[in-house]
Symmetry: C2
Subunit: 236 residues, 2 copies
Amino acid sequence: MRDQFHEDLDTITDQLVELTRLAGSAISRATTALLDADVQLAESVIEADKQLDEIRISLDNLSINLLARQQPVATDLRIVVTAMHMSSDLERMGDLARHVAKVARLRTPESAVPPQLRSHILQMGQVAEAIVAKCGSIIASKDVEAAAALDKDDDAMDELHRELFAVLLDEERDLHRTTVLDLALIGRYYERFADHAVSVARRVVYLVTGEYDSEVSYDHEEVEDADVIAEIERNS
Amino acid sequence: MRDQFHEDLDTITDQLVELTRLAGSAISRATTALLDADVQLAESVIEADKQLDEIRISLDNLSINLLARQQPVATDLRIVVTAMHMSSDLERMGDLARHVAKVARLRTPESAVPPQLRSHILQMGQVAEAIVAKCGSIIASKDVEAAAALDKDDDAMDELHRELFAVLLDEERDLHRTTVLDLALIGRYYERFADHAVSVARRVVYLVTGEYDSEVSYDHEEVEDADVIAEIERNS
């Protein structure tokens, strides 16, 4: 039989996986709500975000109690500290999905996304969904190689984000001011969603290897908007 | 003579205050670089961000070592855990200042900010500078009342952000597509900067009172873009 301490550690892992599931469901439904201008679906995403917040708080409380009562060291300490960072990233991913849903709700009965950008936003949603699903598997399996491979999905997101900005910056395109602003924000939400997922995966690497290498940033280095814009403008 | 443990705790507090100083300097210089189209100043902000990252890593390492070696409980445990969350917020504030500096650099020799919005962006910079300076005092003094009062500065930032979006959404205004995109992003950077400062202040409250109240979010609830846009559109 496992002791209470290790049962608590398992609970932490389970709750982190549950957070990835909820964040994945949220971004998937937010994307559909956005494209289909589905106000009920948008509302349900906004409402469901509270669940992520609650799990995050309960997870943090459990972590602090574990630190206080059990005073873990070595790997056990790393699991607890890392869990606190990961829950913070995952809660933020839920917030970003909620932001997407709020823009969806704002524009109903229209869709915030004009026809020529629909398939583009759909792709961003699909990459976001895939990346957070992988995140869940990585947390459960502690698969360091899969964690490293997540950078590729993030590159795909960065490229989609770059293409979106290129459309928005193109003065030849007839876009409403509201569309430019809505989509600049939406693009950033998806991009940040993927960045936080990469951060979570990197923390799993830290957990397994125990190396908190000062050369590597455990917060994912985001591709910065200004660099993306600069590249678009050089190429146009 | 204080013991090593309490000296380490003092070091943590000192480093957090130093992070607020660096973030304040960064956002102040980034705003000037943006308004004056000063490429050297922008470069210096981008370069200086590494210092924040380094202090954050050293602070997190110190915290983890403290947890492992000293196994603190009660208030001491809270200080260490809270410090990890605060350093994460403060590093992110440095990132956001760097983002502003990168947009500044991108647009030189022009300013990214058109003449009619200069005083507006200047105000956003000033509020950001004030809020992070107060954050530093609050960390040093553990003044719970001052921490609560920070919400007012954040309200001022929210209002400036709202006014900026109203200008960007006004189709009557003759603005380049690049200006709309640049300023939508810049507005969000300043706004998020203030949000993270409020989070830091709330964590000081947790530190002092010890109440990790599930009713209160310790991550500051940001005013969401879609809600801001909805309000602007209702009023226009």
